[in-house]
Symmetry: C2
Subunit: 310 residues, 2 copies
């Protein structure tokens, strides 16, 4: 069994590769919910939905969020009533959120609602939000503390991110199945997702980090930083905003208390020694998931790395 | 001041005429909420919205519901998750319901939410739902009691309507302003709406019928039955289902405890005597609102009738 700690698009792309080399029934995804948000009273779960859309073939992979050929007719209409529409929730995307919100209102937990949505979209893997409780990532900026989506979408990550806050994390319980998946998996993979806003909120749920430290599973992470840059999103700048160099070595340091293997890109091969000095195994490979064959090759390499370790 | 008791499309058409001959700031609309429904967790208020859309120029007047050129992308998408989509809520129509539901969830009453939506759509009249409490029309059919929209839309009013039930009416309070509007108006007009499912739910709210009986206002109704047929919808069949002839005289009988004037169509002139025998004044005119000049002419006639009476 393989368990993934997953953010949004980076995770979804890696999963596409993984599922081409590994049976989906063995895969559990523990999904970040820190970037969940409420718009128009709807519960939006961008990371869960990125995985759902990518694995059901609905994703707008080029744009990196939402569904292909989606329209914005609800947003256009609701703007008449004075609502903000900077979060570009397409009509089909909104339908997913409407269904999720309806399920939650009828008493389902977020993990139950996620399972129903995944079943309806015939997504063959088990996706568990890390917690069913309210956990919201917030960013301390020069203008005060703002919601993650306001930082990420409305402000396009402009300005200094002084602090990343996981509001609600201290009182959040891991969702049913999260700690078991970590304890019982043979392999755990941290997808190439933003360490500060995709993986860190997962680790902030009490019990998760301890479970990772004590599991017998082999744990690998794929560095989302390649050649000093984030492949997607603001991870590089956010690391620097926190006074950390944007390097795979930093990624290794962030996870060193539970990590076994760090997978880094060929361009960062010179950091192998530094990372090994942290007590980690290093796999150097091509981590750029530009096409399906590259996604599959990366997945195969990572699966081998986590399987090889005794 | 003129107060209207209003259903959906018939009311909206009459209002278009009324506002062409009368200043909107003097007009209060007490709206039926019995056909309100919940779809996907959204609060749908078809009669309120019919008025909003007709008075803001957004209505699909030909089709008789929703907005012109609306799309159904949310419905198409949400059907993936197993939701029924027989209630054809267009994307822009859904946006209205999403805004209303969001306002309600944030603590607004239905009348407060209605005022905000009307203001945003620059609708110049005062629309008050008859109650802010839950009042839902249900129909007793051969298959048991079903929600009004299931009878009306899903079943296209097929089958015998044995009974019309106003679920929640007994415990409903008139919304703020309803009883005052009835008491303080010089004129009250019952729009040509279905007496059993558009006007009756308004009358079923405790206090409303008594207020109509005791007001000093002159009260007129426009018969929605012309030549034995409903101009729109199932009013004629529903009356017969309740063992009442589908005639203007029946309309007069239903309202005789508070009505002063019944406005009937030229084709029903032969019933004038029967209706006068009920103690009502009768105005015979052209009530078919096929075009704007006809709507205005009818409104002018009705306003004159309610103003003329001492």
């Amino acid at each position: 069994m393989i368990t993934l700690l997953a953010g949004g698009v980076g995770a979804a792309r890696f999963l596409q590769g993984l599922l081409s080399v590994h049976p989906p029934s063995d895969v559990t995804i523990i999904s970040n919910v820190g970037d969940d948000a409420d718009f128009y009273g709807l519960h939006v779960s961008p990371d869960i939905d990125a995985v759902l859309y990518h694995l059901s073939g609905l994703a707008d992979e080029e744009r990196g969020f939402g569904l292909t050929n989606d329209s914005y007719n609800v947003l256009d209409a609701i703007s008449r009533f004075g609502y903000d529409t900077w979060f570009r929730l397409g009509d089909a995307d909104l339908a997913t959120c409407l269904a999720r919100t309806d399920l939650l209102r009828r008493g389902r937990s977020l993990s139950e609602a996620t399972r129903e949505l995944a079943d309806a979209l015939v997504v063959p893997v088990h996706i568990i939000p890390v917690t069913n409780d309210r956990l919201r990532t917030k960013i301390r900026t020069d203008d005060g503390i703002i919601d993650f989506q306001e930082y990420f979408v409305k402000r396009r990550t402009e300005g200094h991110a002084w602090e990343v806050i996981f509001d609600g994390a201290a009182n959040a319980q891991p969702a049913p199945g999260v700690l078991d998946a970590i304890a019982d998996s043979a392999s755990i993979i941290l997808t190439p997702s933003n360490p500060l806003v995709s993986i860190a909120p997962i680790l902030a749920v009490p019990g998760v980090r301890d479970a990772l430290a004590s599991t017998n599973a082999t744990i690998a992470a794929i560095s989302p930083i390649v050649g000093g840059k984030a492949l997607k999103g603001p991870a590089d700048r956010m690391l620097r905003d926190q006074s950390m160099p944007a390097t795979p070595t930093t990624i290794g340091k962030l996870y060193r208390d539970f990590l076994d293997v760090l997978v880094i890109d060929n361009v960062d091969a010179d950091q192998k020694g530094d990372i090994e000095a942290l007590g980690l195994e290093v796999v150097v490979t091509d981590t750029i998931m530009s096409a399906m064959d590259k996604k599959a090759a990366l997945a195969r390499t990572v699966v081998e790395a986590v399987s090889a370790k005794p």
